[in-house]
């Protein structure tokens, strides 16, 4: 026996990694390639749009690269975790993100760009707990809705109520910052989880009606900051104030449109160099892609994001447990919403909302959260489906 045992040698690491059913082979390679492509493009665009801050500088490129490296490590770590085990951690992750959101409201919080959304860590680093809150909410709602009622494939009523409660608390804290954009993403995450989770259509209709009433109340009782109202007004009619609120949408249209079919080349965008579009390394980074890489480049970005979404949906469909399917589906809705709103606002079909473009925009916490979400998707792919 011992002699036999000695004969069976363990395959080499390379062999193991490339074997037919190895972990590496079973990862969703296409999605990872797409994400990598988006990260590379994002790095180039951050370079192009921030190098002008000081003569001879490389802007925020180095920091952005560091963020991406950390994000990739986080992604890899999350990939190794069985998502079913994550169900157990979900409440903890959620509570930690709530604490983070709470801390923002204490004197530890800091205001950057008009949003009180940050906790400064020193050394020029800061975290934005609201980005982590997206992950936390995805997990906790999926956990609650994944356990169907006896003899049914619909979630239990109590769980639905708990899910809505969790979402309301998170969104409430985010609105206190105030960060309307993130709150909307959280709402989309909640809504998509409820719909995918199999909540009855009439319940969904009721919730939609309540939300609509709430939104109406917000407008009617002037609970929004004036700039937020102004953004919607400017979206409806950008000529209202072309120098003020409408300025952003006008300038981003000009930047993207002037890229034409082939673009002006990396670093060749005059609008980018002149920094006519505000926040062009974060929320408006798509304008840099549009100007410097043209229609071909900006469509490539959209396509790569589309690959991530479609592959994510495939993972959700193939997953055999409810939790995995819900997490994957909710993440796709999160990314899909953010992509559509972000690109849409730069080309004038969506109102201006402070949301970053996933994997492309500069921003540490957002990069971490996005890559953690990719890790979740990969983990679900690895373990959520039978091998045939």
């Amino acid at each position: 026996m011992t002699a036999r045992t000695a004969v069976i040698q363990r395959p080499s690491l390379l062999r193991r990694m490339t074997a037919e059913n190895s972990t590496l082979r079973r990862l969703d390679g296409l999605m990872l390639v797409a994400v990598a492509g988006l990260c590379v493009i994002g790095t180039l665009l951050v370079w192009s749009s921030t190098r002008t801050w000081a003569p001879g500088s490389t802007g925020l490129v180095k920091k952005h690269l560091l963020n991406e490296v950390i994000g990739v490590v986080l992604c890899a770590v999350v990939t190794t975790v069985d998502h079913r085990a994550m169900r157990a951690y979900a409440p903890l992750v959620f509570l930690v993100s709530l604490v983070g959101l709470g801390l923002v409201l204490t004197p530890l919080g800091a205001t950057i760009n008009g949003s009180h959304s940050w906790i400064l860590l020193g050394g020029g680093f800061a975290v934005q707990p609201s980005e982590f809150a997206k992950v936390g909410l995805v997990l906790v709602i999926a956990m609650l809705l994944a356990q169907p009622a006896e003899g049914s494939d619909r979630p239990r009523g109590l769980d639905v109520v708990l899910a809505i409660l969790a979402a309301s608390v998170t969104m409430g804290l985010v609105m206190l910052q105030p960060d309307l954009g993130t709150a909307m993403v959280l709402a989309v995450i909640t809504a998509s989880a409820l719909i995918l989770g199999g909540v009855r259509k009439r319940v969904i209709a009721l919730l939609a009606a309540v939300t609509a009433a709430g939104v109406f109340a917000v407008f009617a009782f002037e609970m929004l900051e004036p700039y937020q109202v102004a953004r919607f007004t400017a979206f409806v009619d950008p000529s209202v104030d072309p120098r003020g609120v409408g300025y952003n949408s006008t300038q981003s249209l000009i930047a993207i449109g002037s890229g034409q079919l082939l673009g002006k080349g990396l670093l060749g965008g005059g609008q980018t160099t002149g920094r006519f579009v505000p926040e062009q390394h974060t929320d408006f980074i798509f304008t840099v892609a549009g100007e410097e890489f043209g229609f071909l480049g900006s469509v490539t970005v959209v396509l790569l994001l589309g690959v991530v979404l479609v592959r994510g949906l495939k993972i959700a469909r193939r997953c055999e447990d409810r939790f995995g399917t819900l997490v994957a589906g909710t993440i796709v809705c999160w990314f899909g919403f953010q992509t559509f709103i972000n690109v849409g606002m730069t080309i004038g079909i969506m109102p201006i909302t402070g949301l970053p473009l996933p994997f492309v925009s500069y921003g540490g916490t957002a990069t971490f959260a996005n890559l953690i979400a990719i890790g979740l998707l990969q983990a679900i792919k690895l373990r959520g489906q039978s091998f045939n």
Binding site: T52, D153, R154, S192, I195, L196, G197, G198, Q251, L253, I254, A255, I256, G257, S258, G259, Q260, L261, G270, Q271, T273, G274, R275, F276, G290, G294, F295, S298, V299, V302, L303, L305, G306, L309, V310, L313, A316, R317, E320, R322, T325, L326, G329, V332, C333, G336, F340, V343, G344, I347, G348, I349
Partner: protein, 681 residues
């Protein structure tokens, strides 16, 4: 799980639909409407700054500058930059006002763009163009600004070129001046908007105005890329300015100087003189050699923008309105200088060239006695002597006879009007067409003019004939005026016998400009052809290439035979030697340079006489036609003739060095070196 998968499928369709929507919209924005946004991007991203072209020089016939450029330190302010400062740039302007020694309010007004409610001195140029605030900055002050740039953000001191006049006041009205273009002009003159900035100036009078297009050159444009804050990032595109062409004139600056001096002296010699002009033409070409008008002014007053007070002074009675060129705008009765036309008219009317004509002290014209000068009878004269001695009665009689022939008070239709038509043939009554703006036409008071005048004035004179002149204290005068008003009312449309008599000796309502008289004499003494005098001779590119030369157009021919023309010229040749100007030319070496001409003393009601002398020299094959006029200067022989004598003395070097060697004019264009400077000799 089935329900979940179904909903995921719906989600997939939704995702794909949104991706398609984004792609379609991107296609629309970037490909379909791409060029539209390229245009808008260029508009927002770039600012065009106009680089002014160096204006061409105005040169005399030998290439000496009459108007040239000198470099000056110009302090300019970038208004766009000041506006963005928290205090609107008030602090910077305050500091600048301390350095330049000018009030802040003045500086502020100068950089404010012109518009409704914003009057001069406001800024007419582009808001992105630096506004020049001071064009005559002491280099030390400019250095203060340049060395402490951090204290003067948005303020620059640059070298610009500004006009300089080596001749000082000489020919100021002829040369003209420059002023910033007004918004109105930009609208009116097509193409101006593209090539003009507020830094650029446009010619406003004289040669600067007439040859503005040639002199101006083409402004360059520098397209500067700017960022959101308007900070220049770099030059995107540059078109170098094309320097303006030089204008070579036929003016001889030496003769111009002589002429100015003679005119100034003549003005001083006549205590009441209030204006004068002297015209020197080249009798062989019809070009203008010198053109002076008094009083004159220093054109440097325009540099750096004229002050409101300076401008008012130029237009005021006190300064004698030095902007007005008496040479082309001074309209005066020509007196006896006009007789060249009247003699020619007599010949056309059939009076014999070699006839003898009695010159009594007085003749009866329509019941009124018209007298010779001081009523002195001169016996029986030939036309030659009539001109030399300036007999008036011969012309009165002839003019009255022609008047009667035309039907007198009941004119035939059409009347022949021999005297008026001959005056027209000599070029009177219409602008000479000299290359200067705003020339006056003068006036020939024929029957049509009388009628036209009556149409315009009869209502007033008829009322006066009834009501009289109660405001006039002198009762005899008031009575006279009332009678005059009655006459004007009832028969003012009629040419009276006296009108025709006065006209024949250049008195009464006839008006001519010195330029008109000069070209009439030029036609008479050269070849009988009437020309439109020219000051411009050639347009020369900065590299020395002649772009074009300006010919002297022939615009008419005197309707007299060569024999008659030479007869009259011959008679005039004796005036300075033996005739009415003999006194003024006493001691002049007629054997060296024989001067011919005609004096004129024109009466002006309520003022001193206008003094004229129209001349030419040498009498054989004349080179020069010189006309001098001094308003309120007295008799022609007293003031104008001595001035003309002095001009000839200067030209030919009598009792002094000659202005031009041998009295000969330059006949060849100056040669330019490729760098644009004038080659000597």
């Amino acid at each position: 799980m089935m329900r979940m998968r179904a909903r995921l499928l719906v989600l997939q369709v939704l995702v794909l639909a949104l991706l398609v929507l984004l792609t379609v919209r991107l296609w629309q924005v970037q490909v379909v409407r791409g060029h539209e946004f390229v245009t808008r991007a260029t508009e927002t991203r770039t600012r065009t700054v106009i680089v002014p072209a160096v204006r061409g020089q105005i040169l005399d016939s030998s290439g000496r500058p009459l108007v040239r450029n000198k470099t000056a330190l110009v302090v300019s302010v970038d208004r766009a930059m000041l506006v963005r400062m928290p205090d609107g740039g008030v602090k910077v302007l305050r500091k600048l006002s301390a350095v330049l020694g000018r009030p802040v309010s003045d500086l502020q007004q100068r950089i404010t763009p012109c518009g409704p409610g914003v009057g001069k001195p406001c800024w007419t140029g582009s808001p992105y163009q630096p506004v020049p605030l001071d064009e005559k900055v002491d280099p030390r002050k400019a250095l203060q600004i340049l060395e402490r740039q951090e204290e003067f953000p948005g303020v620059t001191a640059e070298i610009h070129s500004v006009r300089q006049y080596p001749g000082g006041r000489a020919g100021a009205q002829m040369l003209g001046y420059l002023q910033p273009v007004t918004e109105q002009e930009l609208e009116q003159r097509e193409g101006l908007k593209a090539s003009f900035s507020g830094v650029d100036l446009a010619g406003r009078d004289g040669l600067e105005y007439v040859y503005d297009d040639a002199l101006r050159g083409k402004a360059g444009r520098r397209t500067v890329q700017v960022d959101r804050m308007g900070k220049a990032l770099g030059v995107e595109h540059q078109v170098a300015p094309v320097a303006g062409d030089h204008l070579v004139t036929s003016i001889d600056s030496r003769i111009q100087a002589v002429t100015e001096r003679a005119l100034t002296k003549a003005m001083k010699s006549a205590p009441s003189a209030d204006g004068g002009a002297a015209v020197v033409l080249d009798a062989r070409t019809g070009r203008v050699v010198a053109l002076a008008s008094a009083p004159s002014y220093d054109p440097e007053i325009w540099a750096g923008g004229i002050s409101a007070r300076g401008y008012q002074w130029l237009l005021s009675e006190k300064s004698g309105k030095p902007l007005v060129s008496r040479a082309i705008n001074g309209q005066f009765a020509p007196g006896s200088t006009f007789k060249i036309s009247s003699v020619a008219a007599m010949l056309r009317a059939g009076y014999p060239l070699n006839g003898n004509y009695p010159c009594p002290g007085s003749v009866n014209v329509g019941g009124r006695a018209f007298n010779n000068f001081r009523g002195i009878p001169l016996g029986t004269l030939s036309l030659h002597t009539a001109l030399v001695k300036s007999c008036d009665t011969i012309f009165y009689k002839a003019a009255y006879e022609q008047y009667l022939k035309d039907g007198g008070r009941h004119p035939k239709k059409p009347p022949k009007e021999v005297f008026a038509n001959m005056a027209r043939a000599f070029g009177f009554g219409r602008p000479t067409g000299v290359d200067l703006p705003g020339e006056s036409a003068g006036r020939i008071p024929d029957r049509a003019w009388k009628k036209d005048l009556w149409n315009r004035t009869s209502a007033v004179s008829c009322e006066r004939s009834r009501k009289g002149y109660p405001e006039v204290k002198d009762r005899a005068r008031a009575e006279f005026l009332k009678r005059l008003a009655l006459e004007n009312c009832t028969e003012g449309f009629l040419l009276r016998p006296g009108d025709s008599a006065n006209f024949s000796i250049g008195q009464g309502d006839v008006l001519v400009t010195p330029m008109q008289l000069a070209r009439a004499y030029l036609a008479l003494v050269s070849d009988g052809k009437l020309r439109s005098p020219r000051i411009a001779w050639a347009q020369v590119r900065p590299d020395g290439k002649v772009v074009r030369t300006f010919p002297v157009p022939v615009v008419g021919k005197l309707p007299i035979s060569e024999k008659e023309r030479l007869y009259i010229k011959n008679a005039l040749s004796q005036v300075a030697a033996d005739g009415t100007a003999a006194g003024a030319f006493a001691g002049f070496p007629m054997d060296k340079v024989r001067v011919g001409g005609k004096t004129g003393t024109a009466e002006v009601w309520g003022k001193k006489d206008t003094s004229w002398f129209a001349s030419f020299a040498p009498t054989k094959n004349p080179q020069y036609v010189v006309v001098a006029m001094v308003s309120q200067g007295g008799m022609g022989s007293q003031t104008a003739a001595p001035a003309v004598r002095e001009i000839y003395e200067g030209i030919y070097g009598i009792k002094r060095p000659a202005a031009v060697p041998g009295g000969k004019l330059v006949t060849k264009l100056p040669t330019f070196r490729p760098d644009g400077t004038v080659a000597p000799g």
